[in-house]
């Protein structure tokens, strides 16, 4: 708290995800005013009530289905709640089908790309003109899965790789206005998405991940791996030459 208590107006999309709830609590602890958006309005209301009750901040729930949305109407709704002061946009929506289910299933492929990539670009483009200048911030929860394409998860991974490329360009594009862009690459996080999945290791607590994301926003970082040790793991994985990577069964 202390000097960090700067009361940002923060919009969080995909607010019902465990990582987003971790972000919301960490923001609220610093005094931010929050808009919590997701497709399950009742859940968003409860999350809004929680941060209000625990931390005494103002919070608002807004319904948003990113597969069926009008981004500019949503920007409008957020601006009204936050009285025009939108400092931060945090996107945490995500969808991961089993790779084997998604293969040969156009609907699941489309859904993966819409939720993870298209909606991210649409929302960023809609919000950018309305973010506070200077000082605004865009933060998107991407994934280590976007760093390399693996046979076991590359349909999901491709959507996250798209996010990484988009944000890599958005950062310099907004630099002059003083708007920051943060790409978050979590490793395995203990959420509904990974609960009961085989092959999980070093699974991180979503509140810890949320805290580290909010710290990275405070420091206006560009890219973070979370937990931090994934930077090392991914450094090794990214440095494996393609010829060898192709032979690994990952």
């Amino acid at each position: 708290m202390s000097q960090e208590r700067s009361k940002h107006g923060t919009v969080i999309v995909g607010a019902t995800s465990a990582i987003a709830r971790g972000i919301a609590r960490a923001c609220a602890e610093r005094g931010d005013r929050l808009v919590l958006a997701g497709r399950d309005l009742d859940e968003c209301e409860r999350i809004a009530a929680d941060v209000r009750t625990r931390f005494g901040v103002e919070s608002f729930a807004v319904r948003l289905d990113v597969e069926d949305m009008d981004p500019s109407a949503f920007v409008q709704a957020c601006a009204e709640r936050l009285e025009g002061a939108i400092d931060r946009l945090v996107l945490s929506q995500g969808f991961m089908a089993e790779q084997s289910d998604a293969q040969g299933n156009p609907a699941l492929v489309a859904r993966t790309q819409t939720v993870n990539l298209t909606s991210v670009i649409q929302l960023c483009e809609a919000f950018v003109p309305h973010l506070r200048v200077p000082g605004g911030m865009v933060c998107v929860v991407s994934s280590v899965a976007g760093d390399r394409g693996r046979p076991s998860n590359h349909i999901y991974g491709s959507s996250k790789a798209g996010v990484n490329a988009y944000l890599e360009g958005l950062g310099p594009r907004l630099r002059e206005q003083g708007v920051g862009v943060l790409t978050v690459k979590p490793g395995f996080v203990d959420t509904a998405m990974t609960w009961g999945l085989p092959g999980m290791f070093l699974v991180a607590d979503p509140q810890d991940v949320g805290n580290s994301i909010v710290r990275a926003m405070q420091k206006r970082r560009h890219v973070i791996y979370t937990p931090f040790f994934w930077r090392g793991i991914m450094l090794i994985i990214r440095s494996i030459p393609g010829a060898i990577f192709r032979r690994l069964s990952l």
């Binding site: 465990a18 999350i47 009750t53 959420t191 609960w195």
Partner: protein, 456 residues
Amino acid sequence: MPRRKHESLACWGNHPRYDCESARPETWHALDSSCADSEVSSVIARGLGRSYGDASLNQDAGVIRTERLDRALRFDEDTGVLEAEAGLSLKAINDAFLPRGFFPGVTPGSAFVTLGGAIAADVHGKNHHTDGSFARWTEAIELLLPTDNGAWEARWVSRDQDAELFHATLGGMGLTGVIRRCRVRLKPVPSAYIDASYQRVANLDEALEGFTGAFGDRTYSVAWIDCLTRGDNAGRSVLIGGEHAPTDSLPGELGTDPYAAPKPKRKRVPINFPSIALNPLSVRAFNACYYRTSRPSGRIEPAREFFYPLDSVLEWNRIYGKRGFQQYQVVVPFENGAAAVRTLLDRITRAKAASFLAVLKAMGASSEGPLSFPMPGWTLALDLPHTKRLDALLHDLDAISVEFGGRRYLAKDASLLPEHLPTMYPRLEEFMRVRDRVDPHRRLSSSLSRRLGLDG
């Protein structure tokens, strides 16, 4: 259907350990479908697994972990009433509300328990004789219950609305429905500190007497007994008393912000200790050391340190090794109570079943819960490392308790025999009638309920 996880689960005693089918809903929709999951034969709610035995286990069947449904929904500063989801922990409550001058009316010896677990076990604290059990601070409960069509429905119960079901839920060990939300009253406190006093007494008689004197009048009181020492020093004890410290009693700089107590640093027991670490000698050393270091006179301590001395060592249960341990807790009526406590301690000492913690306390009036544990009398609690012979010892202790009109605490139990249950809990039938009404097909069941014949 949300994904389930096949996991091996135990409660705090690490004994027993069973394979369970765990769901961990993060939304109410997911909670509904976890309850209604027809692929598991039954379900039981599980909070933070701080009960010691098999209460929140369901071998080869469904366990619903509530820890992610932990939202504080509304707080009224005038009445102190908090509405929250059942997965909210007392730790989170203390973090959010102690700085605002509110504390749980009743707290067990660990803050890592959920509201659901506190209600379902009708937990008690060091203030049972003055403030009752958790029931007294619980205003209303929202239960999810099975219906005939397989879906589950939500129902609020309170002292005014289906009081019978409300009462059965207080201490009902999760068998009367899955608690989704509740309204509990927190109590206003003058500071985040406790004015604590420690007093040594030479033997059990003096310890028991202590509770009738000035020490017994304190809001919080408990005695630690060394149950390993024999002979003249047998039953030497430390009496621990406490009051919420008024602002003007706080030394200097603390008084300026009486609710800002330092957060304790946490350590973690990194691995399961080999069982050998817990032989009677090492425990004797531990007990003697505690006995010597305790302060003889009053001092101001942060409430968290006073109430949760072990919470700063995460996973301390691992010192008992892989085999785990059981906690034995009984309450025996005051009448002949001293003889009962002495007989129980004697039996334990003779078995050389080393105990880390022997805690004694006077309990006050019972709550309305037919299966609620506390009743007027002496309650005694001990941690006993698990061995092949332990169950036999515990069965002996149960027989002694029954003889003295006592009962065992189900939240700490993994070995009680079903035949003792109706004697220990004379209102059992009342409880079963409620179960028959709200869950005739026993969609709610646990390893504990099957062991004790509560599904019959």
